[in-house]
Structures are given as C-alpha cells and as structure tokens.
C-alpha cells in the first residue's frame, strides 16, 4: 500500500496534540488512500501536502487559544500561591529582589569603570607616552619630560597630532583670583591648543581652534566660571594666578568656557592655560615634570606596536646615546584599569576590583537563586496535590515544567521590578559609597532595561528549572493517595545547596575581615614619622620673606610645638637625585629632602647615629647630609655609626654624612620605602611649612594660626591640610573597596539568612506532628530545640570547611598588593566561622524555639 509523504505526516504529528487531532490525521490519511487509488500516487501526495499546509494556520490559532486559556489558569494559581503563603513568597521575592538589586548596582559600577575615556571620538587611536626608569624598560611613570612630544610628531608621519599638558602643583593647590574672589585650586593645567582636536572637550564659548594659541590665555570650565564670575560673562576678562607658586602673579585672559569634564575621564581640568605661557624651555628632554604627552596615531593597533619598536632609536637620535629613561606608548583606554604607574594625574582604578565586584554580584545572585530553589522545592509537597490533579486530567510533563518555569520567571520579573525600585531609592547612597556620579538618566538607558530583564530571565530560569522538573516528576498516584512522606527526594540536593550557599557567605565574611584588618593596619602603622597633628601650609613668596617672624609669632601660642619648612612633605611627591657614596662606585638614586634644621624634631624622626645637620648647603664648602638607614645599607655600610663622616658626591658637589635617621614611608603602603637624603637649604627652595600642634584644643590653635596669617600675609587666603588626612587620601581606593565589600557582604549574608529562615520554618512546619508526639512522650523544649537546630549546625560547620581554603587563597593573593600587609591569622578563620554560625543559629532558633514551646495539643490537631 502506498504511504503518504513522511515529512508532511511528521509535520502534522508535531502540530496535533490530542486524540481529536489524531482523528483528523486519520481522516486525511484515509482520503489519501482513496485518492491514490483513482488519482495516482503523485497527485495524491501533492494533495496531502496541500491539505497539511492549509491546516497549519488553523492549528496554530487553536494552540494559541489553548495556551491563553492555560496561561490564565497558571497566572491565577501563581497569584493564589503568592497570596496564600505570604511569608514564603516574601522571602522568595525579597531575596531575589535584593540579589538582583546588588547585581544591577555592580553592573552600573562596572559599566562606569569600563566607560572611562570612551567618550572621546578618537579614543581608540589616542596613546599616552609613558616613561620608564627601570632597567627592563617596563613603564614606571605616567609623567615625563617636555621635549619628547614635538620630536615624535616631527620624526614619525603616523603620529597625526600631539598634545602636551602639564599639571601645576601635585599636592599643592594653586592660587587663582578675580577681584575679591580668591581661592586655591587643584586642577590647573597648562595645555597645548591641540587638546581640543585630540580629545573631545567641547567648548560652550570661545573658538577651540584658537583659544589656547596666545600666551597668557586660559579656558575654564562652566563650574569655575560660575564660581568666579557668577552671572557675569567671563569671556575676555582677566584673572590672576600663581601657577608656579613662587609669588609671581601671572595674568590670564579668558578665551573659552569648557563644559565640565565628565567624571569618567582619567584626568579632569578646571583651568587650561595656554602652553606658551609656561616659563620653561619646552624642548628639553632631561628631567621629569608633572607633564603628560598624548599622541593621536594614524591607523590601527599595529601602528602603535611598530612605533613602540622605533622609540629607542628615536631617543638616541634626538637626545643622547645613553638615555637614563626610555619611553613607550600606552593606549588611552588602558589608563583607567590597567595602568599602575607613578605620578598619575588622578588615582586610577584597578581591573582586579572590577573582577572582585563582578564575582560578588554573581555570588549574591547565586545565593538568592538557591533560596528560591530550596524554598520552592521544599514547599513542593504542598503543591503535590495540584500536580497530581493536573496530571490526572491530562497535563503532560512538559506542560507542568512550563507551568512551574513560567511561574518562577514571573516571580523573578516581579523581583526585578522591586529591584529596580530598590536601585532608584538607594542610588544616592550607592554613589556616596563608591564615589561615582551615576544619575537616574543612566537608568532610562535602554541597555539598562534590557540588562535588567535579561538578569530576571536568567535568574528565573536558573532558580526555576530544578523545582520545575522536581515538581512535574511527581507520580499522581502517590500524591493523591495520601499525604506524601516527609522524606521525599531532593532533600540531599537541597542540603548541598544550603551548604554551598553558606560556604559563599563565609567566604565573603572571611574576605571582609581580612580587608578590615589590613585597613586598620594601614591606619595604625608606624610610618617612621609622627603624622598626627601636623598641619601643612604651602609656602608662598610673601610667607617665605617673613618666615622667621611668622614662626616666632606661631611659637608664642602654647598649642604649637614647633615649625619647619621643607621642599616636600611625605605623601606629596618626591624628587630624586643620583649620589655616589664613599666606598661604593655605583650611583644610588636618593629621594632628596631640602629642609631646615627643625625638620627631624618636628616630624619626630629618630637620630640613629651622629648629629642633626646645622649648616645651609653651599657649593664652596663640604655640605652636610642626613641620610636614612636604608641609604647606609644600600651604600654598603655595616652600621649607621660607620656611615658617619663618609664623604659623598652629588653630581660634582662634595658632601659628607653627619647623621643617620630612621626610614620613613613617604608614599602609600603599596610601595617600598625610599632611601632618603636630607640637606639644609635656604627657604627659597622650600614649598611647605609644617606646624606641629599639640592634641589639646586643636580648633583653638587653628583659629590662632588663621588670625596670625590674616595679620601677616593679608593678600592670600590660608590654605592647609593635615598630614594624616593626606596619608589616608593615598589609601582612599583601598578604603572605598573595604566599605563596598562590607556593604555587599552584609547583603549577601542577609539574603542567605532569609533562605535559612524560610527553610527552618518549613522544617518546623513539617515536623509539627512529630514535635507534638515527642512532647507528649516527655521531650523538653530544649530537646526539641536541639532536634530542630542540629541539622543546620552540621551544615554551617561543613560550609566552613569548604570556604576556608578558598577564601584563604583569594585573600592571600589580594594582600600581595601591599608591601606592608597583615597576616591571615587563625583568628580570622575562627571569627568568620563563628560569625556565620551565630547568625545562622539566631535565624534558625527563632523558628526552632517557636516550635519547641508550642502547645502539643495545637500541633496534634494539625491535620
């Protein structure tokens, strides 16, 4: 007998879903055979195909109608389930909502980190010229010398444009004044006019092509225009400034107003003065300044790589045979997250933190998903009857899977909307925590919407897939016959999930404890100098001239112990010179501090050998030096005492060591201490006045200093900072990190506890009858409590054992970031375990005690 076309028949079988459709299938086949007898096979096959094609839209319409009907039913059941079990639903929804909100926040944070400098149209073709003083030529400095930029443009056709900028005062603010408005500013730059063609910094007013052409012209941001000029039009007005901080006021004519620089730029300026206003010779190759060179290249990445290869020759050709630094090109887009150079314009981020936070987001989300899986499958028993009935009236397994999956998707979409609400409410707090400026506007971005929906769908799917299969696998005969037993399958998996969840939480607690320990260590570490109660005032020309009088006036106050002036202060940069010490042929690089004789006393340095320096250095006599202990070691002296009297050579000038002091950390604890040499010079080489004040009555002392300043230096406002704050500032990224860590770890633990709470409630509920019987047979409340809590105790203990090694390894890695770091002591292990244990026991106890003290009569009447 002839057969209908297989493919067509197969198609029809897919479409049809029940016996009435099979009847249709049979009818068609019967007619096919009838036709085949009188029409021939080929024509009847064509007829068969045609019949099926025409039936497809009708089947389709039918199935949609059915789906809609079922969907209505599913929706009704879902809502009923939410309403009927408010407690569980709240835990499920709130857990997921907090989890999703955490993830959204972290995505916002990561997006912001990744968006740095991408707003420039040329972003992909801009490179920064970075400098290296290391032997292997790997970049060490973001800053460098003046002359490299223009020579690069001259020598290489692939360099389309060069822009050089110079920041004035790394650490010392610069004076700016217009009429009676006088302030100190931190973001004052000299810049070449090309800054507007290489980068995208749009001007509100003024012509970007000529704004910075003339000497003594300046562009300021909107914000600064408002600050100094209010509603006046600043264009063409003249402001005064002291960019070199030498007391010589320079006048600048305003030629442009720039839009405020976005917060996701690796450098931000407030003032851009024209490059030609600078006093230095800007073709010089020697010497590093707070000076940065950017190149706009032609072509793709390979042109930067090939250019990198030619840069050594370039230095030989343009500078000298034996250069003491080398240069290379760094992509602009690498600066924010992948650059770890000295003298960055602003602190950079760290790709490590991006990874860590993404990991935390995933962890919190996993914890929330596990809650959902556990609670849903634990409660499955309550819905077993529904599953049974549905199966009896003809639901197929995949229909049930779809129903439960759909339910969890719906719930997670619910949670996602709650999460968005949380994000909107908590956004200002989040911005404060992370120092970001994420606005509500960025939440209206379509990508934000799609991300959120995508997260919700993924979460709903992951959280729902297991309960869906678990529930739909119930055999109707078991579920309908009687109540299901307590020991239904899936308990083992659930246990595993809870343990995993707690292992994650313990890991996060562990990490938080380590981060806090390290932060405390940083705060309290002895840096070799006494950083408390030192007030630092930048010196100006006026103050230098009257310093002795000013100092005497200050010392009259009983709250002021001593004052000193120096070229630099710790935390605010360093200058380096090459020394040759007696008995050592090598040149040793030393950080050089130009000070006065009060320095070591004011800063609390300890004299390890010899005596303090007394005489100002001058070239016609043997100069006196104080050196750090590290210097004596590098020079090869066996003890500080041995170093006394040794001669040294400083680029031709002669000197000798009169004293040795202890080492100090002038930078953050991420770095090794430098070896430092101190010499006395005249105050004209000094930039800072440091005032040591007594801890009593600080505010009164500051008031006194302010009054004295007003009296003696009337032209300038007083600007000062405290050294300990400045030190904290260097660890601000670490501090932020520790704060963010704390917040998210609390959230993670909170979500995990919610799940545990739900599970404990469920267990107690399941065992109501058992508890009742036990109590009647004489069990005490404490027996019952132990019975209910024992299990959870076991889980948390096991979770500890899993979490410890992983967390130890991860945090050990993180600590490698610091030169000075804490040990991961045993107390961290114990504490993280105990914290998790206590929190979980508190959570569980609430339910256990409730069940334990309940009257057995109520529990036995339970059925």
């Amino acid at each position: 007998m002839s057969k209908p076309p297989k493919l067509a028949k197969f198609l029809l079988k897919i479409l049809s879903s029940n016996e009435k459709d099979y009847a249709f299938l049979g009818d068609i086949q019967e007619l096919f055979h009838d036709r085949a007898e009188y029409q021939g096979l080929w024509r009847s096959k064509r007829w068969y195909w045609w019949e099926i094609i025409k039936s497809i839209p009708k089947f389709f319409k039918e199935s949609i109608r059915w789906r809609l009907t079922m969907f209505e039913n599913y929706l009704k059941i879902t809502l009923r389930n939410i309403k009927g079990h408010k407690g569980y639903s709240f835990i499920n929804l709130a857990g997921l909502a907090v989890g999703i909100a955490c993830t959204i926040f972290i995505i916002l944070w990561v997006q912001d980190e990744l968006s740095f400098d991408r707003f420039h149209g040329n972003a992909g073709s801009i490179y920064r010229v970075v400098f290296s003083t290391s032997d292997d030529g790997s970049p060490t400095n973001a800053n460098g010398s003046f002359g490299v930029g223009p020579a690069l443009k001259r020598d290489f056709p692939e360099v389309k444009e060069i822009v050089r900028i110079r920041k004035m005062g790394q650490g010392v603010k610069r004076y700016i004044g217009y009429k009676d408005k006088k302030y100190y500013e931190t973001r004052f730059f000299f810049s070449e006019p090309t800054i507007f063609s290489v980068f995208d910094f749009p001007l509100d007013k003024g012509d970007p092509t000529v704004a910075l052409d003339e000497p003594n012209s300046i562009v300021l941001t909107e914000e600064m225009a408002k600050k100094y000029f209010g509603n006046e039009d600043p264009m063409g007005k003249t402001i005064e400034a002291d960019p070199y901080n030498d007391g010589e006021i320079m006048l600048f004519r305003i030629t442009g107003i720039a839009k405020n620089v976005p917060s996701n730029s690796h450098f931000r300026f407030d003032f851009l003065a024209s490059y030609r206003s600078m006093k230095e010779d800007t073709d010089e190759f020697s010497g590093f300044y707070q000076h940065f060179t950017y190149a706009l290249l032609q072509g793709d990445k390979t042109s930067a790589e090939s250019l990198n290869g030619k840069l050594m020759d370039f230095l030989h050709r343009n500078w000298r045979e034996n250069p003491w630094y080398t240069i290379s090109l760094q992509p602009l887009l690498d600066i924010r997250l992948h650059s770890r150079l000295k003298s960055e314009i602003e602190p950079t981020g760290n790709i490590l933190y991006v990874y860590i936070f993404m990991a935390i987001a995933v962890f919190v989300l996993i914890i929330a998903c596990i809650n959902f899986m556990n609670l849903t499958s634990a409660r499955a028993i309550k819905r077993a009857k529904e599953v049974g009935i549905r199966k009896v009236v003809g639901a197929r397994k995949n229909q049930l899977v779809r129903q439960f999956l759909g339910e969890s998707l719906l719930l997670s979409l619910f949670s996602a909307s709650a999460a968005v609400l949380i994000v909107i409410i908590a956004l200002p707090m989040f911005n404060k925590l992370t120092d970001k400026g994420i606005t509500f506007v960025s939440l209206t971005n379509p990508s934000f919407f799609f991300n959120t929906v995508a997260i919700a769908l993924v979460v709903g799917f992951i959280a729902g897939i297991y309960p869906a299969f678990f529930l739909s696998a119930f055999k109707p005969i078991h579920t309908l016959k009687s109540r299901m037993g307590y020991s239904f399958s899936g308990a083992a998996l659930r246990k595993g999930l809870v343990i995993f969840q707690f292992a994650l939480s313990i890991g996060i607690i562990f990490a938080t404890l380590i981060v806090h320990k390290q932060m405390n260590y940083i705060r309290s570490r002895d840096l070799g100098y006494d950083r408390e109660q030192i007030m630092v005032i930048p010196l100006s020309k006026d103050l230098r001239q009257i310093y002795e009088g000013f100092r005497n006036e200050l010392l009259k106050d009983p709250g002021i112990e001593n004052t000193t002036t120096s070229s630099l202060v710790p935390t605010r940069g360093s200058a380096h010179l090459s020394f040759r010490f007696e008995g050592n042929e090598e040149l040793l690089s030393q950080a050089i501090y130009l000070v006065d004789k009060e320095f070591i006393q004011t800063y609390g340095l300890k004299l390890l050998a010899g005596k303090n320096i007394q005489l100002p250095a001058s070239q016609d006599q043997n100069m006196e030096f104080l050196v750090s202990e590290l210097t004596t070691q590098e020079a090869g002296y066996s003890s500080p005492q041995e170093a006394i009297g040794k001669s040294l050579d400083l680029e031709g000038d002669k000197g000798h060591i009169v004293g040795v002091v202890n080492d100090i950390n002038i930078y953050s604890l991420h770095r090794q201490p430098y070896s430092i040499s101190y010499m006395i010079t005249s105050i004209n080489n000094h930039n800072y006045l440091s005032v040591r004040i007594l801890p009593q009555n600080i505010s009164r002392t500051i008031e006194y200093i302010q009054e004295t300043w007003k009296k003696m230096v009337p032209y300038y406002p007083l600007d000062y900072f405290f050294l300990d704050e400045s030190f904290e500032q260097m660890h601000v990224a670490d501090k932020k990190m520790s704060e963010i860590f704390t917040v998210f770890s609390i959230l993670a633990i909170f979500v995990a506890c919610m799940g545990l709470f739900g599970l404990a409630a469920f267990t107690a509920d399941q065992k109501t009858k058992e508890i009742g019987v036990r109590k009647i047979l004489g069990a005490s409340a404490s027996n019952i409590y132990v019975l209910l809590s024992r299990e959870f105790l076991k889980w948390v203990t096991l979770a500890n054992i899993i979490a410890w090694p992983v967390a130890y390894y991860a945090m050990h890695k993180w600590l490698q970031n610091f030169v000075f770091r804490v040990n991961i002591g045993g107390e961290i292990f114990i504490l993280s375990g105990v914290v998790a244990l206590v929190i979980s026991m508190l959570t569980v106890s609430f339910q256990s005690i409730k069940a334990a003290v309940a009257n057995p009569i109520d529990s036995l009447r339970y059925e």
Binding site: P4, Y22, A23, F24, L25, D27, E30, L31, K54, S55
Partner: protein, 110 residues
C-alpha cells in the same frame, strides 16, 4: 440565541443526515458534494471541533484501522442543544425570508 455561520449550519445538517455514519470524511464529502467546492479537509474539521466545544455535537471514537495509519475515527452526533440551535436558526431563516420572495419575484418582472 447564538447565530451559526453558514458553514456551521451546513455541518450540523450533514451530521444530522448522516446519522451514526457521521465522521470527518463523510461530513467533508457531503459538504463538497453539496456545494461543489473542493474545500480543504481542515476547513471542515475545525468548524466540527468548534461545534463540539460549543456543546452542539458530541463525539465517540471508532476502531483504528491500518488504512487510517492506526488512527481512530471520531464520530459526531447532535446533542439536544445542537438540535435546538438548528431549529432556531431555521425558524430565524424562515422569518427573515418571509415575504421577501414576492419582492424578489416582482423585481424580476420589472
């Protein structure tokens, strides 16, 4: 009352006529013979099922045969409400046409 479509009405009448031999193919063939149009099987089948859903028809299954690829026949029979629906539609039909034939005739004369 609920109005039946023309096709539904024809299908119901066919099921009534075919008595206990009314199943997919016989109804289909009847309609094709009656109208002379070679419509598709599914365009008869779906109205049949719609009438089952509305409660005008009830079904019973026959024995599967190999000629049908192992599928059973699905026999249809009018329910009480199906019969009522047919009656109502018919009287509606008659009321609607009442007197119209005279006008039709007279318009032919013009």
């Amino acid at each position: 009352m609920e109005l039946l479509t023309k096709l539904e009405e024809l299908v119901l009448i066919a099921v009534l006529r075919l008595k206990d031999k009314a199943y997919g193919i016989s109804v289909y063939k009847h309609i094709v013979d009656l109208t002379g149009n070679e419509v598709s099987v599914s365009s008869v089948y779906f109205p049949l099922e719609r009438l089952v859903r509305k409660g005008y028809l009830q079904t019973s299954m026959g024995e599967p045969t190999s000629r049908r690829g192992g599928m059973s026949k699905r026999f249809y029979k009018l329910t009480k409400s199906g019969i009522e629906a047919l009656q109502e539609n018919r009287s509606l039909h008659e009321t609607a046409w009442n007197g119209v034939s005279d006008i039709l005739k007279s318009s032919e004369e013009v």
